[in-house]
Symmetry: C3
Subunit: 237 residues, 3 copies
């Protein structure tokens, strides 16, 4: 079973995602195509990289993961494909694969006639489909040594930062210690599960990625605390 996952910031209503699916279906008709998401905030490369890191390794080896969050489409930014741990990755060289530790990387050839504004349809979907039919990575382009990698901000001593806000308004930090924290002047106590505090109360916990997270039971911690990405969080040890 060949499988391709799709992650984009296209939304679905304009038909751009379906155009990619049509191209894939024509080249690799028996591939399973699975939507990861099309609701990445427009142009938010870091969010795409973080979302990808939550799922790619859970798929079976051989899966091809396509990521098209691509504000630089049509410029000199390269189109790339990677192999890592038996998985394949296809997308722009703009940091969306920052958290993938690749074994092999190629710069994709741009097909003649490819649009300058929609590489999802004209470059990435065909490359992914070809990989899923068993074509080798090196047949898709020329080997490259370097690619753009966003550096993860590391905590400095007891001070970490907010790296993401999820759809529930949970505040995800780059801290990995199980501890009480202070954020925006508010002290938040460590718990184990969302249900360990009363309705509408704040808590901290270690989330399913092993990261310290600040949440409100059945509410949005980001709204409550007025927090966005990059805010500072201090451990109370």
């Amino acid at each position: 079973m060949k499988r391709i996952t799709l992650l984009t910031d296209f939304g679905t209503r304009d038909g751009y995602v379906a155009a990619m699916k049509g191209v894939i279906a024509s080249i690799a008709p028996s591939a399973f195509v699975e939507d990861a998401s099309h609701d990445i905030p427009p142009g938010d490369v870091l969010s795409a990289a973080q979302a990808l890191s939550r799922y790619w390794h859970l798929y079976p080896a051989g899966t091809v993961h396509v990521v098209v969050v691509d504000p630089g489409v049509g410029t000199e930014r390269a189109a790339i494909a990677l192999a890592a741990n038996g998985h394949f990755f296809v997308g722009p060289d703009n940091g969306v694969f920052s958290f993938i530790d690749d074994d092999q990387a190629v710069q994709l050839m741009i097909p003649i006639g490819a649009s300058r504004t929609f590489h999802g349809r004209d470059v990435f979907a065909p490359a992914a489909a070809r990989l899923s039919t068993g074509e080798a990575l090196h047949q898709l382009g020329t080997a490259i040594d370097e690619r753009l990698v966003l550096v993860k901000e590391q905590p400095k001593g007891n001070v970490g930062e907010v790296i993401a806000i999820d759809r529930f308004g949970n505040i995800i930090t780059n801290l990995m210690q199980a501890a009480d924290v202070e954020i925006n002047g508010v002290e938040v106590m460590l718990q184990v599960a969302y249900g360990d505090v009363g309705e509408g109360e704040l808590l901290a916990l270690i989330n399913s990625d092993g990261l310290l997270e600040i949440a409100v039971r059945n509410g949005s911690a980001a709204e409550r605390l007025g927090i966005s990405r990059g805010a500072r969080v201090t451990l109370r040890l």
Copy 2:
């Protein structure tokens, strides 16, 4: 053909849904995984139960229906799996399966190392995948006699209530009579189809679930009438 449907309140943009799909693909690579929805309002167990009741019985027997709207994840609420009419259901014991009349029910074993915040990935996806590969329900846990069931409010004489507002702003009631109604002081006449009144006009009709619904042609009845779930509706017989 084994088939698994997914209904959650995760949205897709954080990659949590794709994590579940990855787990399923690794355990049951030939299963068809179909998105029912990931846009259930966060924590709205009743909406999930109602959405599920619109589709599960239309699928072929053998389908596994996963529902993860789970504000109590990680607390003492049980994880369960049910069999009903040849279909399977996997999710938290919090009322999401209120409208399923089960033949058999088990409490799922929680795998060692499962996160306390993401049973969708660590408990429900693996259980669903195993059921889809033919494992028996009783192999996944221990039989239970009771589970949490939300009671449907029944109409009292001529007075019913609003049980849901759908994406179009249609007001769905628990009444089953084809009749004119009064809601929030406004009388609404019974029709047969949305197009039976002029653009922007109110109408009542029996909807595709056999329930009395109040709508505005090409508009939102809920907005027009200022109505939310729980409001009272009176039959005009």
Copy 3:
């Protein structure tokens, strides 16, 4: 591999889309069902027609394309199925197939007991499933000669109009010339790719459908210029 694509304005949260998928799975269990979109603005037939025209021809022949944007459901508007270029199309006769040049067209029989409000489940999903299993178009209904077709507004000399705003806020026109333009009193210079101007700056380009588009790099041109569908755009030749 039989394949069915779905395009609706249902959203997913109410379970209506999953009901259609369940019906298809019961009739055509081995068909691949792919979501094109369920986020067409409610009742926006023209948007559906435009989205469809971006993808249908990229799929392999034999694909069945279902479109349910159907504000007139249950009225005298016909339910239809078309064949064009080896592809099939199923939906209401309200203009959603305006940009399909069909070889054959039938009016679908309405099954006894079909709801008057949900032909997606009761008429279109079963018809699509039957086509995907190899049933002939003429077995689904009676041939028709005419159907409703929305006329594309053509540019008049140097003056075109805005035919769509996409999810990024890009302004899509019906002009096909590569040229500078004036819109709402603002002159916009032609470029080749979004990245050819600075962050937040306006540009015009020929998009992936060959149409002149006005965009803001990493922003919304429609918001910036206060533009909606139907606005006038003038070529600066």
